[in-house]
């Protein structure tokens, strides 16, 4: 086999579905909104994509850790952390301190999720379903359900500023986060432990890995990244919304799965998730340009999730055979 074929197979196995979907999305969005890929549109698309992209990076880690790992509470954590920043800013707390408190709140919420899942051993679905409602209630209680908008002018830089013509949150937050996580997953001991934990929990335990702690970190990191996304959102809109992120869990899970993360754990990558973020952002953006209601957009994302997970198995096998149609054996 030539080297080229090997590369084709490797990319195909890992990103086959994703690349196909990306091509279809680019064609589809161009039909829906001709000229959508203009420079200015791409720039605003990146702006929109950063928030869900950060959350999806966390979701990828949680699902990658296996053992039924999933985080349905991301949208609520996103709301709580931005509300904390907003309320503190309203009380004239230094904005850097307020942001730090918001991020700490995210970490704390992730810690609660991780504790309940790994130590108390409540399945992640139930834990995060319960905390999704609980955290969302907290966000509403803190604010009486009213948007908070009392940020200093400088705060809007994170969400609205430009660095070298690119959105500040993309350059300062998303790229470093993605690079850092890529290094963590591919170059560190923790990364190897996480993949092994997701692939085969028993083998991981037998080789002396503290599986609980490895999984615990995925929830804490998700809490943190979600809080960062919350800060970006409140900065972009200069408003902290207690009802923000209601459908973020669906989008984040769809992005992770579309990016090649196996829902059973052990498979997934930062690059896959990054490309999938592009796809979902493209869908969302072209829908909003075409004035299609967000309920329909969410429904479409749900459809993408089911179709992708349905065909992931088929396509992975097809690419594993080198793209040939098999003779039934």
């Amino acid at each position: 086999m030539s080297r080229g074929e090997g590369v084709f197979r490797k990319i195909g196995e890992n990103y086959g579905v994703l690349i196909l979907v990306l091509v279809f999305t680019v064609i589809g969005s161009n039909i829906l909104q001709p000229g959508i890929l203009s420079l200015q549109n791409v720039s605003s698309m990146i702006t929109f994509g950063v928030e869900i992209g950060l959350i999806a990076l966390g979701e990828t880690l949680v699902i990658l850790g296996g053992g039924g790992g999933i985080d349905l509470s991301v949208g609520s954590m996103y709301a709580v952390s931005q509300v904390v920043v907003g309320l503190l800013a309203q009380r004239n707390v230094n904005i850097l301190l307020a942001v730090a408190a918001g991020l700490a709140t995210g970490v704390a919420m992730g810690f609660v999720n991780g504790l309940l899942v790994t130590r108390v051993k409540i399945p992640a679905i139930i834990t995060t379903l319960a905390t999704m409602y609980a955290f969302s209630g907290v966000a509403l209680l803190l604010t009486d359900g009213i948007d908070v908008s009392a940020f200093p002018a400088s705060y809007s830089f994170i969400g609205q500023g430009l660095i070298g013509g690119l959105p500040a949150q993309f350059v300062l937050l998303y790229i470093p986060a993605a690079l850092l996580l890529w290094i963590v997953l591919s170059k560190t001991v923790y990364g190897q432990q996480l993949y092994l934990t997701g692939t085969n929990q028993l083998a991981a335990v037998l080789s002396g890995i503290n599986v609980k702690q490895v999984r615990m970190w995925t929830y804490v990191i998700t809490g943190f990244l979600t809080a960062v996304a919350g800060v970006v959102d409140s900065s972009r809109l200069v408003t902290a919304r207690p009802d923000a992120g209601a459908t973020a869990n669906l989008a984040a899970i769809t992005i992770a799965v579309l990016g090649g993360t196996s829902i059973f754990g052990g498979k997934g990558s930062v690059w896959g998730t990054a490309i999938a973020t592009l796809v979902i952002t493209l869908v969302s953006y072209s829908f909003s340009l075409a004035n299609i209601n967000s309920v329909i957009e969410t429904g479409t994302i749900g459809g993408v999730l089911i179709v992708v997970i349905l065909f992931q198995g088929y396509l992975a096998r097809w690419f594993a055979r080198g793209g040939r149609v098999s003779v039934k054996a």
Partner: protein, 336 residues
Amino acid sequence: MKPLAVATQSIGNQPIDQSLQTGKRSVRYETILLVIVALVVVIIAIGSHGNFWSSSNLTSLLVDAAITAVPAIGMTMVIVMGGIDVSIGSVVGLTATVAGLAFEQNWPIALVVLLTLATGAIAGLINAWFIASRKLPPIIVTLGTMSIWRAVVYALLGGNWISTIPMTLTAWFVLDKLWIIPWSFVLTVVLVLIAAYMLRRRPMGRHVYAIGSNEEAASVLGLPTKRVKYMAYVSLGALTAIAALMTLGQSPLVQATTGSGFELDVIAAVVIGGTSILGGRGTVIGSLLGAILTQLISDGVILFQIQPFWNGVVTGAMIIIAVIMSLLNQRGAAHE
């Protein structure tokens, strides 16, 4: 060959050891639950200065409990088998919309009821196909169908409301009573009793517990695991449609958000009712008590004039507490 056949039979027809234990444990848990329900009733009755016993409050409480408890029957089976369905809030929206559109066309009420039930069953069938036949994770599938049905509701309604719901539904489910109990609650109790009998005594019901305890073993023993799963998700869909009709009886209006968040009420009722999220254990009578308890608490929130935002926090916390209690109970049993 012979031992296999015997083993299958013992799971199919007679309660095996594990199930006997389940029965004993759940009776205890249900008794505790009943005591808690009684305590909460006393607290709310005293705290609300008698407003609790007003006929209108009791009626709305019992109808709310019925609306939660009916789908909880199906949800109990689904969770006992280690599954979950978060799409039922959107299925309430979908079936209510279909009913509303049919009422707008002046369809006879019997036909509308049939159509609504069929819609719910089809929604359940679609979930079942992905979960049982394609073996996809229930949470992913139902998270997807949840958003899809919501989008369909939006597309069908086009941002409008439907308010041409006949009074007959309100009469059936809310106004007409057996003594002081609305017929919707009576219907719920009957459905729960039928389901309890099926789950305890009939082969199909025993299969549900066998699959929940150890799906692989159940499958090796030749139990029709796929068929049982289809049965559970399809009945959940149809029962959700009944809940949608009751909802229309209580507030005769269909809008794009009808039913959203409803799935948490039902899952909370089932989990608080003692169904183990690890599968294999749970009873529909427990779920009925769980439904009554969760509705009592939201009723108390209203009577005590507490911020309604507390509802999500309290329900979420109650789920976690109930699960911890059931896990401790299960671990305790394992040590015995």
